[in-house]
């Protein structure tokens, strides 16, 4: 059952990042590739603080650092007019050095043996199963992040951010500072990603400079998979879908690992194929429906 619980843990932890990706990808409607860097940033900050004996501050500072990284990308996008994709890549690659600096010029920091969020939670509830404690903790963290975001997107500021994503020109005309809204959104997005990295470091017991590679893809896949199950009508449902998608993505990977049909070197292809199938289901379903309608129309015409 470790794999099943583990997949839920990882799904919730990376779900924090999926929330962030959802903000830029869907709400702001601007691609942001900072994630690979800001994930590792959160991871690095959290690990360094944990080694110093301050795991909780590690998480908080990780969120803050992620937001700062996002703000940099946002400013590059708006004030310096750098293309959003390039702005994200620039911040991401710059962060590589920043992350190494934060880790103390080491590419790998071990937290095995240092008390962290998960081991602390375990000492509070010594009679509970470790997997359950971890599940409750990751669930609570995810719930808090989700609730804060839902609250935020219903405040005046949040509504302005959403409006900016929907119709830039109209918002500009109504004298709202569009650039500021964009910076806020990208910062918020990367705060979530930094949060995700910060929790991941303490969960897996080490921080490695290579941990962020491919995170962006995982986040995007999670958001899109999640949307298969929820309508895109409200922000609340959208954010919920992002977390759900992340959990599902992890379960899919776990499934791929569990089956022993394919050789070890095929993992990437297999996981890509499974995600591809999941993503193509709506299209396939529409085709089938269309074919059904055609048949019916044909029958009606004959009858």
């Amino acid at each position: 059952m470790t794999l099943f619980f583990g997949s839920l843990h990882l799904g919730l932890i990376y779900g924090l990042m999926a929330l962030g990706i959802y903000i830029t990808f869907r709400i702001l409607d601007t691609p942001d590739l900072t994630a690979d860097g800001s994930f590792t940033l959160g991871l690095a900050v959290s690990a360094s603080m944990t080694v110093l004996g301050m795991p909780v501050y590690g998480i908080l500072l990780g969120i803050f650092a992620g937001a700062a990284a996002g703000a940099v990308t946002g400013i590059l996008q708006t004030k310096l007019n750098i293309h959003p994709i390039l702005a994200g890549i620039l911040t991401m690659s710059g962060l590589y050095t920043v992350n190494l600096f934060i880790l103390g010029d080491r590419s790998n920091v071990s937290l095995l043996g240092s008390p962290h969020l998960f081991s602390m939670a375990l000492t509070f509830f010594p009679h509970l199963d470790r997997d359950i404690v971890r599940l409750v903790l990751t669930f609570l963290l995810c719930l808090v992040c989700f609730a804060v975001l839902v609250w935020f997107f219903h405040t005046h500021l949040g509504l302005c951010v959403r409006a900016t994503g929907d119709n830039d020109a109209m918002v500009r005309a109504s004298s709202i500072n569009v650039d500021a809204m964009r910076v806020v959104a990208v910062a918020l997005s990367n705060a979530c990603t930094g949060f995700s990295g910060a929790v991941a470091a303490q969960y897996q017991g080490f921080a490695d400079i290579g941990a962020g590679v491919g995170m962006m893809v995982v986040g995007l896949a999670s958001v899109i998979i999640g949307e298969m199950f929820f309508s895109r009508r409200s922000v609340t449902l959208g954010l919920l879908a992002a977390i759900w998608g992340s959990i599902l993505y992890r379960l899919i990977i776990a499934l791929a690992l569990k089956s022993d049909f394919f050789p070890a070197y095929a993992l990437r292809l297999v996981s890509a194929l499974i995600v591809m199938i999941a993503l193509s289901l709506p299209a396939v379903r529409n085709r089938l429906k269309l074919a059904g309608l055609k048949r019916e129309a044909l029958r009606n015409a004959r009858g």
Partner: protein, 335 residues
């Protein structure tokens, strides 16, 4: 009409979701517990983070040694998984291993070992090639494993390497140390090299760091004119880009000292290193001791010291170095 269709779509998506979840539930819960050992077949998990030549050699060396020790295909099966560079998948793989009813888990290099030890699985963890197990946190004291994990360290003999260089390429004044700062084993070895040179003043040195494989060539070129020899720690990124490094170095008549046989095979001038197959095999010996009844605490972690000296003849000719007779006799020449 559209409204109804829309609702239908919604429902069928949910239905599909429910079906999918049901399928997942069956897969995860269907097998309640892994079957007990059938006819004394040991099951060993092998976790690797990324594909590269050195790790593949270590894995093969491990498996080959197990077979040699009498654990044939009828006695031991391997569940080998590779995260292909994705750290989040590495966690899933380790969870999968912790879940399966394995007799031992073998991890290759530092991150998989850390991820595995962090899960504290029931089966003991035997690592291959963790350059500094104490710093990696997978063991508190090399002599007395305390976290149900033991294995081999591949600390490269940097002192031997520079002493070899002093004998074979005596005109060298400055060494370039070329590595990527993203790999913990490489950084550890580079640190050891710098510490040795700082202490002995044997050579001056200049560091050159690449952060991605596309930078390797230019970083190597930046050393031309400033150094007379290059040392490359155990670094899978530089190792993969070895032909580029050698191309630059040979043209400038700079001797490249590598840290693995793989590097010398792809053109580095020389190395004193541990055969990657041997590191794997030493870990296999530890697994054998455990399966024969020794407890993990009684199997100390060891720094492997079976060194081989390797030269690449083609490169030696290209950089104009004559390999002395005494070395040529006791070492391996490739190409």
């Amino acid at each position: 009409m559209m409204g109804i269709m829309g609702r239908n779509v919604g429902i069928s998506v949910k239905k599909m979701g429910v079906l999918f979840l049901a399928a997942l539930a069956v897969v995860f819960c269907g097998r309640v517990e892994a079957a007990p050992l059938k006819g004394g077949v040991y099951r060993v998990g092998i976790v690797q983070l990324i594909d590269n030549g050195a790790f593949a050699d270590m894995r093969e060396g491990y498996i080959a040694r197990m077979r040699e020790l009498g654990y044939g295909e009828d006695k031991m099966t391997f569940d080998y998984k590779n995260a292909q560079g994705d750290m989040s998948n590495l966690n899933s793989i380790c969870q999968k291993m912790a879940d399966s009813d394995l007799d031992a888990i073998v991890t290759i290099a530092t991150p998989p070992t850390q991820a595995m030890v962090n899960l504290s699985p029931k089966a003991p963890v035997f690592f291959i090639a963790v350059s500094n197990p104490v710093a990696a946190g997978v063991i508190t004291k090399m002599e007395k494993p305390d976290k149900n994990a033991t294995g081999t360290s591949n600390a490269i003999p940097v002192d031997e390497m520079f002493r070899l260089a002093a004998k074979i390429t005596p005109n060298v004044k400055t060494f370039g140390i070329l590595y990527s700062n993203g790999e913990v084993n490489a950084v550890n070895t580079a640190k050891a090299a710098k510490a040795f040179l700082d202490q002995t003043k044997l050579y001056a040195y200049k560091e050159a760091i690449a952060t991605s494989s596309s930078e390797v060539q230019q970083v190597a070129q930046s050393l031309v004119g400033a150094v007379e020899a290059i040392f490359i720690p155990n670094d899978s990124m530089i190792q993969s880009a070895m032909p580029q490094v050698v191309g630059v170095a040979n043209e400038a008549k700079i001797a490249t000292y590598g840290s693995s046989a793989v590097m010398v095979n792809s053109g580095a001038f020389a190395t004193i290193s541990i055969d990657d197959h041997v590191i794997g095999a030493r870990t296999a010996d530890m697994v054998d001791r455990y399966l024969k009844g020794a407890s993990v605490e009684d199997i100390p972690s060891v720094v492997i010291s079976d060194f081989v000296t390797l030269f690449n003849k083609t490169t030696a000719d290209a950089v104009g170095v004559e390999i002395p007779e005494e070395f040529a006799k006791n070492s391996v020449l490739v190409k």
